[in-house]
Symmetry: C2
Subunit: 190 residues, 2 copies
């Protein structure tokens, strides 16, 4: 997605440790018009997959997931990292290790919001090591539902997340694929 790549080059900042900071439009400040175009792009990519539900993880996945749900006209469920007071114990739970934050979170989704006949599209803002996506896949499998696709806004292609997901047979589509962040410069996959 050319528009997204241009925005990453214009507004993104590369920090040490292969961290790409895109908090001006994606994960602290959010550009709603860009999110809407991202939603339209994911609809194009996954429209034939008969998606019945979108899953993501709070918080940064919510904006792109909800705009994709708006375009595809399906409900969106965001997994919680922190137990909500209204959350029942009737939940699917999986462990997600965050390499950037160096903590393990339990992510959970109420069992009422994923059924065995669901074709689920996973949406997330970043794919690096793939831990969050693996947690969502685990929950979808616990529910005996189908993982119909994985849509990622920004993929760090030099980290092992995509390779493992492809090896596991999943259909992964990323709107921007980053080959390298070396020398504080963003280089995209050709």
């Amino acid at each position: 997605m050319k528009l997204l790549e241009d925005r990453i080059v214009k507004d993104g900042t590369v920090l040490s440790g292969d961290i790409l900071k895109v908090d001006t439009f994606l994960n602290h400040q959010v550009d709603p018009q860009l999110m809407n175009l991202i939603g339209k792009e994911f609809k194009k990519l996954f429209d034939k997959n008969n998606i019945t539900r979108i899953l993501t993880v709070e918080s940064s996945g919510i904006a792109p997931a909800v705009l994709t749900g708006l375009q595809m006209n399906v409900p969106v469920v965001f997994a919680r990292k922190h137990k909500s007071v209204t959350m029942s114990d009737n939940a699917f739970v999986s462990d997600v290790y965050s390499y950037t934050k160096k903590v393990t979170n339990h992510i959970s989704i109420d069992k009422r919001f994923i059924n065995s006949d669901d074709n689920v599209l996973i949406i997330d803002d970043f794919l690096a090591n793939g831990q969050a996506v693996h947690g969502l896949v685990d929950i979808i499998h616990q529910a005996k539902a189908n993982v119909s696709g994985i849509g990622i806004v920004i993929e760090k292609s030099f980290q092992p997340g995509r390779k493992q997901l492809e090896k596991d047979g999943f259909n992964v589509k990323s709107l921007a694929r980053i080959a390298s962040l070396d020398n504080n410069k963003v280089t995209f996959v050709e």
Copy 2:
């Protein structure tokens, strides 16, 4: 907003302790079409206020805030409760006590995302005691920006949040106003 009230009656559940559970469409599973209608409603209510930016708090505020930002064509910033690895120390911080979770969170917003010439619309999913909104108001005042309005999806009018905000001179608009949750029944303000 009649459609929202009907949805609360149809899908909401009242739990003990005056808790209204609306996780089927607002704060765990999200109905994107409803969020879009909520965005249109907030645009109608605040269109004359020359809004330049929308502020909310992660996670449940993000969906209604981003759809309102899409309708009003302004950027949305969500305050973080948990420090992000890419977040600089250059942030406005305020304390928010959660009565439901019984914890105090620091919420923070990077100083780059709120300026003294901003007319800010605060959007949140719930207003009860008003702690989250007070935290956002505090941050907006630290930035010497203007609080142009406060838009709430569901207000528990029997709790003190709105009264205090009105006493402080703020323009509060809530799409559903709940007078009581007594006897596990939702009664709206006439």
